[in-house]
Homo-oligomer: 198 residues x 2
DNA sequence: TTGAGGCTAGCACGAGTGTACTAGGATGGC
DNA sequence: GCCATCCTAGTACACTCGTGCTAGCCTCAA
């Protein structure tokens, strides 16, 4: 909705970056491979992204933006646990699409030492994610997210999810993922039933 | 103890790989940068590692080996929780050394699409880690590791640790890490106190 | 002392890299 | 119509890449 042609072209390049990272590793990303993958000339790519760093950073930010949009599209229903589970399901590598996203995230994290801009994007994404999970924990507990309880539970929930995400990456893309969802649901029930005093 | 000169030289090259990955990202790893870092000629490096893949795989395997040695050196004491916590502390990025190791692990995972040998090393390391955590959970529960309880708890414990590791990476190397240890300890107490029937 | 083999150093090659630059095509406002 | 602007396509440069190769060093057994 309302994207300029320029933004759409940039998004297409960013998607080419994603594909190459996932298929050949981050070391295979170059202006030429990306341009060829997107079907444009190197000069065109460089018109949109003067340097390689900008291309990588844009790719990372677009990924975060897409994920944020998906999560924002969800609305709480009658059951709080189901809502939170739906949110988390959008962020875990359960489907081929989210799996791509998670793998990409790992790869970009790995490249941060050589690219300060990527480190910034990574830290920003993590801060937003932590904030989201603390709010989710507060929602489950029926408390304000500013309290110590939601903060504690949100942190642990996020750690559990990130760790499970890593594990899911270690199994084939078409393998069963139900066990991970079971673990998450248990954790959500636990947060919901936690005593209000710590 | 008992390392051949050849193995020591290979280890030195592998350490140069680590340093470059951590300082400049995995994309900066090349036979030339690694050789220069280790203070040897490219030809010497290639005598030890005919291909670049072998160099990367050896670096990954050496990292796993070093970690395994550290963990194996620990012996259970009077308090099971303290022992398990000590083991986990060796694997989480709590100190500069283990932080390096964790970061390196992430970077190598990110490069697996372009290097099947790395993928094998990664899957092997993960399998051994999962096995270790299931045994730790069994140890805490006082059960055989083959049961469903230790399997379930071990999986969750490993996920929590991996996720916490990721989070620790997102904060400065010299920031406080106590909160992560607190979360782990709570989880260990919880496993130890879990009912034996599920 | 001699000689063999592990090892080092360095060059050469073709391919791939990021970036700079220019010439021309498309497009949209006037 | 015109023309400015955005954009594309392609070339060129200096550099790095992985790898193959050779000539010589060092070390140690015979």
């Amino acid at each position: 909705m309302g994207y300029t042609p320029r933004e759409e072209r940039k998004a297409r390049l960013a998607e080419a970056v994603w594909e190459i990272v996932l298929e050949q590793g981050i070391s295979a990303v170059s202006v030429r491979t990306v341009a060829a993958r997107a079907g444009v000339a190197v000069g065109s790519l460089r018109h949109l992204f003067p340097t390689q760093s900008e291309l990588l950073e844009f790719s990372a930010e677009l990924m975060v933006e897409r994920a944020t949009e998906r999560v924002s599209a969800l609305v709480p229903g009658a059951d709080p646990v189901e809502y939170v589970l739906a949110v988390i399901s959008e962020l875990l590598p359960l489907t081929p699409e989210t799996r791509r996203e998670f793998e990409l995230n790992m790869a970009l994290i790995a490249e941060t030492p050589g690219n300060p801009g990527l480190a910034r994007a990574r830290d920003d994404a993590h801060a937003r994610l932590l904030d989201l999970f603390i709010r989710l924990a507060g929602f489950l507990r029926g408390e304000e997210p500013s309290g110590e309880g939601p903060r504690h539970d949100g942190r642990r929930l996020l750690a559990l999810c990130d760790g499970l995400g890593l594990h899911l990456l270690h199994q084939p893309a078409d393998a069963d993922t139900g066990w991970a969802v079971v673990l998450i649901r248990e954790e959500l029930d636990r947060i919901r039933g936690a005593e209000r005093v710590r």
